[in-house]
């Protein structure tokens, strides 16, 4: 009896010790993998691709769901290249998803290629030594292939990634509603003009204009990218007159015109803006190319009108001063710790020069001048080409020559700004208080990070 009691006690104790020991043992492995790549985690195919008969295995991390293009891209590559097999891993492009990618790389897990969606995230990864300077390969002229828009993605004057996608931002328009109201599709317009459109287009109790929250704040970034986030003396420039104009225009649309939903309502109800637009309820939607993912999907979003496209309106009166968000995006980097950098580079070049064509179905057109744009466009429109206004679409996607910018602002500043303008749009503070608060907090941040 007594023996048995002892036995049970000891057994359970040993079990616990074992579990804990196992945990710390694993720790050593993890830390080895972190520092160098010579750890035991190396895959069997770690050697140079030519040296061994086994295929090289690459892992690519991106934020687009596999079924929206990436899987088709990878399958096509794998069929042609039995020696280099690529696996696509999806991470959700939010705080938790980016944290997952970052920890995976910091702990030396297999990440060979990864897609950055913002310049500030790319910069963090470059500073952590996780992205390879692609200039070292020397056989691909990024500026020449991708055009002048690529410059925005340089970090410390170097390309630590390849911007691959034309990322178009636009206002999608319900062409039928515009025609009925006798309004032309604008090719260049200001927020004041958009406000008039919204007023005329709002039917009954509905709204005339609605915004996806991702490009919501772009008008400010457009102004400040051009004129600087800081003034000459190094203090915050967030009280730029055009920032005030943006705040007041939108607020008037929410409060006076009631032509766009109040921000508070949009936030708490998590308003499905794509659906509001595609169902015909709201005739104008500020969004980006990913709208095509939904607008081509007639099963979930049945639609009986034609979609036309207008550039995002500008705050400044002078068209020459305007820069629009967009240009090119999906900045793909090669992990500096990857053991298969050469193979990853081969894949990346192929991807950029047209391999990515299936991504077009989700609204992502290749940026490289060597890619077959017609094929991509066909894949973009599928059998729904008739439901788009071709002319305005071509203008927004290809012909619009407005210079572009890539937002590169620290998340902290993006957040403090949105907290303050939310308070303004919700009526909790005046426009001047808002600007003052933004400037004060931005200055504090600038001091903090100096």
């Amino acid at each position: 009896m007594r023996k048995k009691g002892w036995f049970t006690g000891m057994a359970s104790l040993i079990l616990v010790m074992g579990v804990l020991a196992g945990c710390s043992g694993g720790g050593n492995n993890g830390s080895n993998g972190d520092g160098s790549n010579a750890g035991s985690e190396a895959s069997p195919s770690a050697g140079a691709p030519a040296a061994s008969g086994d295929p090289v295995k690459l892992t690519m991390w991106g934020g687009v769901p596999p079924e929206a293009g990436p899987q088709a891209v990878v399958d096509a590559w794998n069929k042609e290249h039995p020696d280099i097999q690529v696996e696509y891993v999806r991470y959700v492009n939010d705080d938790e998803g980016n944290l997952k990618l970052d920890t995976a790389m910091m702990t030396g897990q297999d990440v060979d290629l990864f897609v950055n969606y913002t310049s500030s995230q790319a910069t963090k990864r470059v500073e952590a030594g996780l992205a390879l300077d692609l200039g070292t390969f020397g056989d691909y002229n990024i500026d020449e292939k991708m055009g002048p828009d690529a410059k925005g993605w340089q970090i410390n004057g170097k390309y630590y990634g390849l911007p691959t996608t034309k990322s178009a931002y636009f206002v999608a328009l319900n062409k039928d509603a515009l025609d009925a109201a006798g309004l032309p599709v604008p090719k260049d317009w200001t927020w004041d003009e958009l406000r008039e459109y919204a007023k005329q287009l709002k039917a009954g109790g509905g709204y005339g204009f609605i915004q996806n929250l991702e490009p919501f704040v772009d008008p400010i970034d457009s102004v400040l990218t051009k004129d600087g986030y800081t003034k000459a003396d190094g203090t915050s420039n967030l009280d730029h007159p055009l920032v005030k104009k943006w705040l007041e225009t939108l607020n008037a649309m929410m409060e006076e015109d009631k032509s766009t939903p109040p921000l508070g309502e949009q936030l708490t109800s998590k308003m499905p803006v794509e659906q509001e637009f595609l169902s015909g309820k709201v005739p104008m939607l500020n969004i980006g190319a990913w709208l095509l993912r939904s607008s081509n999907n007639f099963t979930d979003f049945p639609r009986d009108f034609k979609i036309a496209f207008a550039p995002v309106p500008r705050l400044t009166d002078n068209a020459d001063e305007y820069v629009a968000r967009g240009g090119i995006g999906d900045y793909i980097s090669i992990n500096a710790k990857s053991k298969n950098q050469a193979a990853a580079w081969e894949f990346l070049k192929w991807y950029a020069d047209g391999g990515m064509a299936p991504m077009a179905a989700g609204g992502r057109l290749p940026a490289s001048k060597d890619a077959d744009q017609d094929a991509a466009l066909n894949s973009l429109l599928g059998d729904k080409a008739d439901t788009y206004d071709k002319e305005s679409m071509m203008y927004v996607l290809f012909d619009n020559r407005t210079p572009t910018f890539v937002r590169s602002l620290d998340q902290e500043v993006v957040d403090l700004r949105s907290q303050e303008y939310e308070k303004y749009f919700l009526g909790a503070q005046s426009v001047d208080e808002t600007l003052a608060a933004m400037v004060a907090r931005h200055n504090e941040y600038l001091k903090q990070t100096k």
């Binding site: 009691g5 002892w6 359970s12 945990c23 938790e96 997952k100 920890t103 702990t107």
Partner: protein
């Protein structure tokens, strides 16, 4: 005679108070009723007012979607169950073990160690998030179930609660056994544990409900969708189906039902345990 008189004079008042309390109780559970009702409605019926509690044409399609869709709750359930059951079993046993040490054995430094335990209760989990994240990342168990299971094996509250219970067991019971030559292990397994069954059940149920409902640790330490527990899966479902209010409510029902079942079965233990630990603690 008097009894009958009392009954007749008190019954209406008793009934009235009952009715009022019942009405308020229904107000308390309205969110649950609304949740279930909405999960059986069509999208157009979600916000109809006045509320139709029993939907006109109840549909099960949202529940079917939650359980069979590409992101089935089956996986989340399995994950939650695994974590909660292992954690519960481990935490209950280890707490009992330690609580016995603190309650019934005198050794050097016992009180100081117990004070240390108690002081750990004051440390907010937020203090521990960052270092635990860095430690787990280093140890390679970040983003694995071990990151939840291992810390889940230890509950300071459990040690505290069971110690209180063990202290309340009269000394005579164990002393005679001790004099008969039984060691602590034997006393613990043969005498104390059987006596403590109700307290152990209470701790097990409470710990299970904590682990099942734990959202914050899962949020910090799990990333992969296949590893998600029910609260995370629920949040994920809601993020990806912002339009689908019916589906959201079907998912919320799925998340809540097991706890309601556990509560219905273990109500006695839960209430007793919470009361004891609070009043005597």
């Amino acid at each position: 005679m008097e009894l009958r008189k009392r009954l007749t004079s008190e019954a209406p008042k008793k009934l009235l108070v009952t009715l009022i309390m019942l009405l308020l109780a229904i107000v308390m559970i309205i969110p649950f009723l609304w949740m279930i009702s909405t999960s059986l409605k069509t999208p157009a019926q979600v916000f109809e007012y006045p509320i139709r509690w029993i939907p006109a044409n109840p549909t099960w399609e949202h529940h079917v979607k939650v359980w069979t869709g590409p992101k089935s709750f089956g996986t989340y359930y399995w994950n939650s169950l695994k974590i909660a059951v292992i954690g519960m079993a481990g935490a209950t046993f280890l707490s009992a073990f330690a609580a016995y040490g603190f309650a019934r054995i005198e050794f050097k430094g016992r009180n100081a160690l117990f004070m240390l335990y108690l002081s750990m209760m004051m440390i907010p989990p937020q203090v521990l998030f960052v270092p635990k994240f860095l430690m787990f990342e280093w140890a390679g168990i970040y983003n694995t179930h071990l990151a939840l299971i291992l810390p889940g094996l230890f509950t300071i509250f459990g040690v505290f609660m069971l110690r209180q219970f063990f202290l309340s067991i009269p000394n005579e019971i164990t002393e005679s056994a001790f004099i008969d030559g039984a060691g602590h292990f034997r006393i613990f397994f043969r005498l104390i544990l059987p006596l403590a069954k109700p307290a152990l059940a209470t701790l097990a149920i409470i710990d299970f409900s904590w682990q099942w409902n734990d959202y914050e640790n899962a949020l910090v330490f799990l990333i992969d969708e296949e590893l998600y527990t029910v609260p995370l899966g629920l949040q994920n479902f809601i993020l990806e189906n912002t339009v689908d209010y019916n589906g959201m409510m079907a998912a919320a029902s799925a998340g809540i039902m097991p706890m309601i079942a556990v509560f219905a079965i273990g109500q006695r233990y839960i209430i007793q345990g919470l009361t004891n630990s609070a009043v005597k603690g």
